[in-house]
Symmetry: C2
């Protein structure tokens, strides 16, 4: 529960259990986050992105949404965060993002990064990862794929458990 | 010059000139930004991405870089920012990102968004955009494509000029 108090938005950091802490094809790394108003404001100040969809409920409703949206790139930042948390020093090579459904303030989002292929090159590993964000109650909000160069297949921090599907 | 003083990092907002302020195929929208240490720290606090490549020069050098990197997603945030600045209310549909070269603190980055195709659907416009970030001295650092649903082809703010290649 300490983790939740550390961050303004609710923030659970977990991945499912498996015998070893080595990344394997099928391994799934997860993290949940609920974005708050402060996060959206912080994103706008940092990136100077002032799209009214994120701040003007009227504008968002005129565009067909029920309220202001959390910026897609802010939600998508969960992917490099998960990769780096498990593989400090990982080099982010590419990312595709399909923003399928809006994310609103207060929605609990679960980001899932799953190893699809792993290729060793010298002392590094090129991992192709499926990257999805889903709402706690199920619908897929962001879909995509990432490629990262990992310094090792050993996952940090060791107390994390990973799933193998 | 007021714009530069507004933001911690140098920040020029321009696009090239053309007769009308309507987006056309070939129109290029540009924006420059130089990222500072505060931006990288702000990104990490906002996203909880603590990849040592962004903070530990030793780790970055061991990975083959000359210094700490600016996070790729922070640099890529220039794309939705440019789209929303010219088309407030634009809906970000998709983005591909290929991180080709590292970006360091102090590098002036020029983001270019160019209309590749425009399709009208009812009273909205689906624009496919080539999205590139280049360093002031030339090399391409991020390449990709975005799709956005625009409320109109008229570009805001009117005092911006656009190029047509």
């Amino acid at each position: 529960m300490l983790m939740k108090r550390l961050f303004s938005s609710s923030h659970v950091f977990s991945s499912s259990s498996a015998s070893s802490n080595l990344l394997k094809i099928g391994s799934v790394l997860k993290q949940a986050r609920t974005f708050a108003d402060d996060d959206v404001l912080g994103y706008s100040k940092l990136t100077h992105d002032a799209n009214p969809l994120h701040f003007d409920a009227e504008c968002a409703k005129n565009a067909g949404f029920t309220d202001c949206l959390v910026p897609g790139m802010l939600v998508a930042s969960l992917f490099p965060r998960i990769i780096a948390a498990h593989f400090p020093g990982a080099i982010y090579v590419s990312q595709t993002l399909h923003f399928k459904l809006p994310v609103y303030i207060g929605d609990e989002i679960i980001a899932e990064v799953q190893a699809v292929s792993i290729r060793q090159i010298k002392n590094k590993y090129i991992a192709k990862l499926s990257t999805k964000c889903i709402k706690r109650d199920g619908p897929l909000v962001i879909d995509g794929e990432a490629t990262a160069m990992l310094p090792s297949l050993v996952m940090e921090p060791p107390n994390l458990e990973i799933t193998s599907s």
